[in-house]
């Protein structure tokens, strides 16, 4: 968690010295744009910056929550149905889209059951932590068309740091629920997240070697160069094309990070009955669920930024491309969920520590050697 992020920060800063920083603009790009729209002028005071930043955050937060709202009650059902030869929701509204409203009303109007003996502050904080940590991560993601709330130099480290806060939420939910299934789920999730966060971050570090910066806008900018031109179509130097091995590793580790098949063991409905979620109902359940989907989207956003050129793409505006890429990753997780069996906890740990970790380090060293030889 924070410990891992710290290690990566150090590792990355070593590489940074050889890189050139790329010098993207400091500060809060979206807040500046909002400030201009509100007529605050180019030199905003602290109060004006705060207002503009809040409006920007409100916009990004709502965009992501709206996407989650579409994904959770509707898209997930439709996608899974398509994979499993079914139709899914089609009665409420066109294509069943109004199920989103119906489900929201249904879930929010349910009774919030607080079981006996739950560890109260922790039990309440956990869902908020899970949803909040994912939302925080979106603050530094460049989404194209100048939509980026903040662009710190250590953007990548920040994203990993806040997104791994979710593990804290998981273990708090599992432990505080006073339910043995939840406890098992919490323990499993912590074991899984530790085992897979390291390969995730190490693989991301190999991208940092290429880009020479931890700043997300810098990483996106580094991918705009054409890699090769075939028949007049230039293929950009997205890191998914430059280093497909790292891309595959990252996708796999990301599946574990967001807890989807084959790595959905913290929930494992048929074994430990949804694990840490078991005792949550009503609004807390919604928050849990939102948190999960936000994490899938955040994972997609990180993948898009690190490997798929961020918002880059022809014809359509950047933000549209960005959302398409996020949804593509979401589709991938749903595909895995429909088709791949779940591994066992000991196998998962084995794959994580003996397989992924070794591969990710090999990838890092090889990348360093190659970049060192070329540069």
């Amino acid at each position: 968690m924070t410990g891992t992020a710290g290690t990566v920060g150090e590792t990355a800063s070593v590489f940074l010295q050889s890189g050139s920083g790329q010098g993207a603009t400091e500060g809060a790009p979206l807040a500046d744009t909002v400030g201009r729209l509100l007529g605050f002028g180019s030199n905003m005071g602290p109060g004006e910056t705060l207002i503009a930043a809040f409006i920007g955050a409100f916009f990004i937060g709502n965009l992501m929550l709206a996407m989650t709202g579409v994904a959770g009650p509707w898209a997930k059902r439709k996608i899974t149905a398509a994979f499993t030869d079914r139709i899914a929701v089609n009665r409420v509204g066109p294509f069943g889209l109004l199920i989103i409203v119906a489900d929201a009303v249904r879930l929010l109007s349910k009774e919030l059951v607080v079981p006996d003996g739950v560890d109260r502050p922790a039990w309440d904080i956990a869902p908020i932590l899970m949803a909040g940590s994912a939302l925080l991560g979106f603050a530094v993601i460049p989404m194209g068309n100048g939509i980026q709330l903040a662009d710190p130099e250590t953007g990548l480290v920040y994203v990993f740091a806040v997104s791994s806060l979710a593990s804290l939420g998981l273990v708090a939910a599992g432990y505080a629920s006073n339910n043995k299934y939840s406890l098992l789920g919490g323990l499993r999730s912590i074991a899984q997240n530790i085992a897979y966060e390291i390969p995730l971050v190490i693989t991301a570090a190999s991208v940092v070697i290429f880009a020479g910066t931890l700043q997300l806008s810098g990483i996106v900018a580094a991918q705009t160069e054409p890699l090769v031109t075939i028949l007049g179509v230039s293929i950009p130097a997205w890191y998914a094309f430059v280093n497909p091995f790292a891309f595959v590793l990252f996708m796999a580790a990301n599946l574990a990070e967001v807890g989807r098949n084959p790595f959905d063991i913290p929930e494992a409905p048929t074994e430990i009955v949804a694990g840490y979620q078991t005792e949550y109902s009503s609004v807390y359940f919604v928050l849990m669920y939102l948190g999960e989907f936000l994490h899938i989207f955040l994972g997609g956003a990180i993948i898009a930024t690190l490997f798929l050129g961020g918002p880059a793409g022809p014809v359509l505006p950047g933000i549209v491309w960005f959302i398409i890429k996020i949804w593509a990753v979401f589709l991938f997780t749903q595909w895995m969920r429909s088709a791949i069996p779940r591994v066992r906890i000991d196998q998962l740990i084995e794959i994580g520590w003996k397989g992924m970790l070794v591969l990710s380090f090999a990838n890092l060293v090889l990348t360093a050697v190659i970049v060192g030889l070329i540069a």
Binding site: T80, F83, I265, P269, V343, R344
Partner: protein, 563 residues
Amino acid sequence: MSLEDPQDQRGAQDRELVGVTEEGVDYDALEDLLGEKVIGRESHVNAEAFVIRPDEVQDTLFALRDEAGFDHCSCLTAQEYEDRYESIYHLKKYDDPTQEVGVVVPTSKRAPRSQTAEPVYRTADWHEREAYDLIGIDYDEHPDLRRILLPETWQGHPMGMDYNQDQPQVVTFESHTNPLAEDHKGEESDTMFINIGPHHPATHGVLHLKTVLDGEQVADVKPDIGYLHRCEEQMAQQGKYRKEIMPYPDRWDYSSAGILNEWAYARAAEDLADIDVPEYAQVVRTMSAELSRMAGHMLAVGTFALDVYGDFTAIFQYAFRDREKILNLLEDLTGQRLMFNYLRLGGLAWDLPEPREEYFDTVRDFLDELPQNVEEYHDLISSNEIFQIRCVDTGVLEPDVAKSYGATGPVARGSGIDYDLRRDDPYGYYPELDWDVITEDGCDNYARVLCRLQEVEQSARIIEQCVDLLEDWPEEDREIQSNVPRTLRPDEDAEIYRAVEAAKGELGIYIRSDGTDKPARFKIRSPCFSNLQTLPELSEGEYIPDLVASLGSLDIILGEVDR
């Protein structure tokens, strides 16, 4: 569970087995073997039975198992007469189930005590608990003689003769044992007690597993059954043979395997009352039974995938898609999708639906698509690498252990036991058809799934041949029902134990007639009941996910376990 050493069962095979002749079992030789232990001899319709003293049960059974090779304790029937209690052990051989023998153990009315058979056949553990629970016979030296189907606070033994039906069974919540009361903290290690079920996504119904976990590993698991007990035996005893019992079997194994269950009753009752079944009806029975088996296996494979994969995945839906087609075929045939009630004693309820050609075409279309669909299952399930690391070498059931527990069906065949009543104890039209018994030597969860998938293909072969036969059947010979008296009264004191190969294994029925039009004792030998008993063997020491997978691979239907 008994911790005693499993007896060496292989030793028996090296020696010449007593009582084996060309024509079947030589009961006189067996009587000589048992010597003075035999105090009487009974003739059941299916086999001879020896009456022995209640304190010589183990000696007798050991002798029969080790010297005469009766390695399959198929069933234990307990019943109460006016003057005595009686336990009947129905013994068979896995190599040749037509070789049967009964061991009758009468016990006195005042103190019904009998020696346990658990050290000989481990399956006797649960069977004797059931006999104690419902009839009230005490089994001495039984390792764990508790109620099994009824709650532990139940008063009286409901299938006993002096049971008062009007006695109130109200007990306070406090008087139930609290499964959480036990402290599971050991000196060395911390274990955790956890109730899996009765409401849990992986228990396939209402099964309760009292599980002790050591971290993620299963230290101990005790299945607790009876949540779906519906007095099926009692209800069957109150129905007339001819038509009032047939609807009940559909409710035992309700995974669309109803016709197989009906056949179990039909076979036992027809043999008891000496009723012939026309050949044409046998072919239709065979076809419909195999459709039922396919539907049952599809459900088994689909839900097993659900247990291993974790969510409603493609395989589950594909299995249901194919099952749906089978259900449509069965609906056309029987008018029902779940509770078929299609078989009658001596025949069938009605002939194939008209127009016959159209029906045959639908069946053929389904059979034509099937190989492709089975290939799809193999792509998604058996050749999936993650599935293999999850299922290969997990939930191992050694053949000896399986035999001792009386495991049958795909569970036994997945452990390499070549035992299929359709071939070994022929009935219906099976002997005339060309098909294979599938066995897999893996002994693990993977082998059991492979077995089911291949059995689906074999069932398709059988159905195809049946359709060919039915298509060419001359119209004037389409006899679906033989002459059966309006009121069936089998001979007084006739007893029979007959089994068929149901979707889950050997489904046996014991009927004792008392000369009236209703059975005096109707006992169901459920394959799931015996198969579920192996669960602790499969899962102790393994991880929770393997426990869930093993449970899924046993393919239990709680309606049949609890009856």
